[in-house]
Point group: C3
Chain length 306, copies 3
C-alpha cells in the first residue's frame, strides 16, 4: 500500500501512468463509472477548501463510490484534543481511502504512518499539495501534448506559493524545460530552489520583475496571487501590483499558443476579460483536476490490492 504525500513520491513513469489513465477517463467516463462501487473516500479537511474537497468528492462519486468526512476543524474531533494519528486509525475503520488537508506541515505524513488505508495529502500548510501538481501536469500535457521542451513562466508570489515550488520540482524531471520567474524582489523564489533545485540540475532559468518582459517567450504562464500583506510597505505594493495583473492588453504580448494556468481561487490577478481568451486554461484546469484525482484514487486502490 502506498500514500501520496509529495509529488516526488511518484516516479516519472508512475506520473505518466496516472496521466494516461486520466486521459482515458476523460475519453471514456462511463467505462469508469462503477469502478469504486461500494467503496468510500473520507475527506478530512482541517481547514476549509471547497475547491479541493469537492474535486475529491466529485472524483469518487464519478467512480461510483461514496463520500464521508468533515469540511472544517470545528466540526471534527480535533476540538476534543484528538491527535491526527488517532483520527486516521478511526477513519481507517470507516473508509477505503482518504484525502487529508491540514494547516500543519507534516500532518498528512503523520496520518499516513498510522493508517491502514491509502492517504492522500490534500495540502499541508505551505508545504505540499500533490494533487494540484498532478492537475497542473495533466492540464499542460493534455493541452500542449507534452511536458518537455517548454518555457514556463511563474508569476506572482513565488516565495510562499507552494503550487509553484511543487510544479518546478515536478517539471525539472522532463527534458529541456526552462523557467522564467516573474516576481517582485520581496517574493522571489527561495534561494534553495534557485540553487539546490535549478542550478544544481543545470535547469536554465531567469528572473524578471515585470510580467510584460516575460510574456513573449512563454509557452505557459502560471499565475498566482500577490497578497498585499506580503509587501514590506504600501508604497512598493502600489508601485508594483499592476505588473502582476494579467489583462487583455498584456495578453497581446503573448504568443498564440501560450497557455494561462492558475491554481484558483483568483482574486484580481487575472482580469475577468481574459476568461474568454482561448489561451485561458484555468477553468479547464478544474475539470482536469477531477480526472487527475479519479486516476489517482484508482491507482492507489490498485496498489493497495497488489
Amino acid at each position: 500500500m502506498r500514500h501520496l504525500m509529495n509529488p516526488l513520491d511518484l516516479t516519472v513513469e508512475e506520473i505518466d501512468g496516472i496521466l494516461d489513465l486520466a486521459n482515458d477517463i476523460e475519453a471514456n467516463p462511463s467505462k469508469y463509472s462503477h469502478k469504486c462501487d461500494g467503496l468510500k473516500i473520507a475527506t478530512l479537511f482541517y481547514e476549509p477548501s471547497t475547491r479541493t474537497r469537492l474535486s475529491f468528492e466529485a472524483a469518487m462519486i464519478n467512480l461510483g463510490g461514496q463520500v464521508l468526512g468533515f469540511s472544517s476543524a470545528a466540526s471534527s474531533s480535533a476540538t476534543k484534543g484528538e491527535s491526527v494519528a488517532d483520527t486516521i486509525r478511526m477513519i481507517s475503520c470507516y473508509a477505503d481511502i482518504c484525502a487529508i488537508r491540514h494547516p500543519k506541515e507534516g500532518a498528512a505524513y503523520v496520518a499516513s504512518t498510522k493508517s491502514s488505508i491509502p492517504v492522500i495529502n490534500a495540502g499541508d500548510g505551505g508545504h505540499q499539495h500533490p494533487t494540484q501538481t498532478l492537475t497542473d501536469l495533466l492540464t499542460i500535457r493534455s493541452l500542449k501534448g507534452h511536458l518537455d521542451n517548454l518555457t514556463v513562466g511563474f508569476c506572482g508570489d513565488l516565495k510562499f506559493g507552494r503550487t509553484v515550488h511543487s510544479l518546478i520540482h515536478a517539471m525539472i524531471r522532463y527534458p529541456n524545460v526552462r523557467f522564467v520567474l516573474i516576481s517582485p524582489e520581496e517574493l522571489r523564489v527561495p534561494s534553495y530552489i534557485r540553487e539546490d533545485v535549478l542550478a544544481k540540475n543545470n535547469v536554465p532559468y531567469k528572473e524578471v520583475v515585470r510580467l510584460e518582459d516575460a510574456l513573449p517567450e512563454l509557452d505557459l504562464l502560471y499565475m498566482t496571487r500577490v497578497q498585499k500583506e506580503r509587501f514590506f510597505n504600501e508604497e512598493d505594493y502600489v508601485r508594483m501590483k499592476d505588473f502582476y495583473i494579467l489583462d487583455k492588453e498584456k495578453m497581446k504580448l503573448a504568443g498564440q499558443d501560450m497557455l494561462v494556468l492558475h491554481p484558483l481561487p483568483r482574486v484580481n490577478e487575472i482580469a475577468v476579460e481574459v476568461d474568454d481568451d482561448p489561451r485561458a486554461a484555468y477553468f479547464k484546469q478544474v475539470q482536469y483536476g477531477v480526472y487527475a484525482r479519479m486516476a489517482l484514487i484508482l491507482t492507489l486502490l490498485k496498489w493497495r490490492d497488489q
Copy 2:
C-alpha cells in the same frame, strides 16, 4: 438549457407540467428512483438553511443521484475572496445541476450567467425563493384540487416576507383568485404589489388588521412570522402580537376546508395545539417540497438535454 431564478420564469403551462410530474412522483415514487443515476447536484449554501438544503438533497437522492456542496459560507472558498461567478464555473466541472442560496439579491442570477449547468435559485436574500413557491402551489393544488377560485389569506409580516410576494405573483395568473392581506400597519404588503400587481390586474383584495376578521371567508390561510424587531415600538408589538398567533380558538372561526400553510420554520405564530387539526397542512407542505424539487430537477435536466 434553462435556469430557475424567479417563479415567473415559468409559464403557467410549465408550472402545471411540473406540478403534474410532482403528483406522478408522489403516486409512483419507484418509477423515478433511478432517473438521476450517475448524476450529481451541488448545493451551494452561502447562508445556512437546513430545510431547503436537505429538501434538495432528499429530492436528488430519491431520484438515484448524488450530492456534494457546502452548507455555509464559512466552509466555502468565498472566504478566500472568490466571486460567485468563478465558483459556479468550478462547480460546473463537478456537478450536473446546482441549487444556490446566497444572502445577496441577484447572486444566483450572476451564477446562472456563467454556469454550464442548470442553476436553481434556492433563495437570494429577501428577493426570490422559487422552489418555495412551487412547493406552495403544489400543496394547494394537491389538497384543494385547483389553483383558481380561491380566497387566500396571507397573515403576518407581509412587507418583508418574500414567500408571500412570490406566491401572490404566481397566483394572480389563475382565474378568480382574491386575497385578504392580514397585517399590522407597519408590515403591510408594499405599495408596488398593491398597485402594480393587484390593482393593475384587477385582482380583488382587501386588507385587515385582525386575523379573526378574516378567517371566516378564507379557503386558505398562509401564515408567516412577525419578528419583534419589525415594529416601531414595543407598545405596538405587545398590543398586536396576539392578532397574529393562530390557535385552536381562532381555528373555530375558520371553515371546515380552510387549509393552513406556513413556509416554516415557525416560532410561535402557530400554536402547537393546531398541529393535530386536519386543516393544518404545513408539515404536508414539507413533503410536497421534496416532490416539487424532484419534478423541477427532472424538468431542468430534460430541458438541458433537448
Copy 3:
C-alpha cells in the same frame, strides 16, 4: 415502530439479537451491502461529534443507503428558533431513519415523540449514548466470547462519564459480573449508581484510587479521560493524574487476557506505547461500532415494517 433512547430500552434478548446480527455482518459484509438500497439516514448533530456521526454514515453507506444531515447546530435551522419537535417532523419527510445528537438531555426523546421514522439517540448531553453501549457490548462479547463472568474495571472520571454509567447499567443484566471502580475521590461513581443500581441488585463492586491496585484482577479495563477542570484544586490534580495514565509499565501488572477499551477520543490517559499491545482493543472498538450501528439500523427498520 420503535426508537432507541436508552440502552435499557432493549431487553437482553433484543441486545443479543443485535449483537448476533452485528457478528454476522462482520463475517459476511457483502450479504448486507444492498439491504438499505434506496433508503436514507439523517444525521442531526446539534453538537459536533465526528466519530459518532461518521460511524453512522459509514454504517448506512455499507448497507447501500445514503446520508443527509448537518454536523453542527450552526448550520441547522435551530438558529432560526425552530424546535426539535418541528425539525424531526421535517426530517421525517426526508429520511427513513435518523440519528440525533443534542447537548440537551431529553432532546432525542422529544424528537422521538413527534417522529414518523425511527429515532436513534446519538448522545444527549451527559445523559445517554446507547450506540456507544452497544459498541462496547459487541466489542467485549466478540473479543471475550461472553458478557457474563467478568471482572470489569472502570478508570478515570466515573462521576460524569455517561459511557461508564450506561455500560454498568447494561452489564449488570448478565450473570456474575463484578466491577472495580477506579477514580479519585472527587470523581467517584454517583451514589445513586452505587446504591440503587449496584447494591440493590447485589452486584459486587469495590472502589480503589490507584489503577495499579486494580489491574491484576481485571478481565477488562475501560479507560476514560480525567479532565483537569474536574478537580477541586491543582495540587490534587498534579498529585493524582499519573494514577490514571495507562502505560507499558502498568500494563505489566495486568493479566495476559485483559482487554483495554476506551470510548475515544483519548487525550493522554493511554500512552501511545500501549497501542501495539495485543490487549489494546480501543481501535477495534471503532470497527465494532460500525457493525453495531449497521445491525441497529437494520433492526429498527425491520421493526418499523412489522
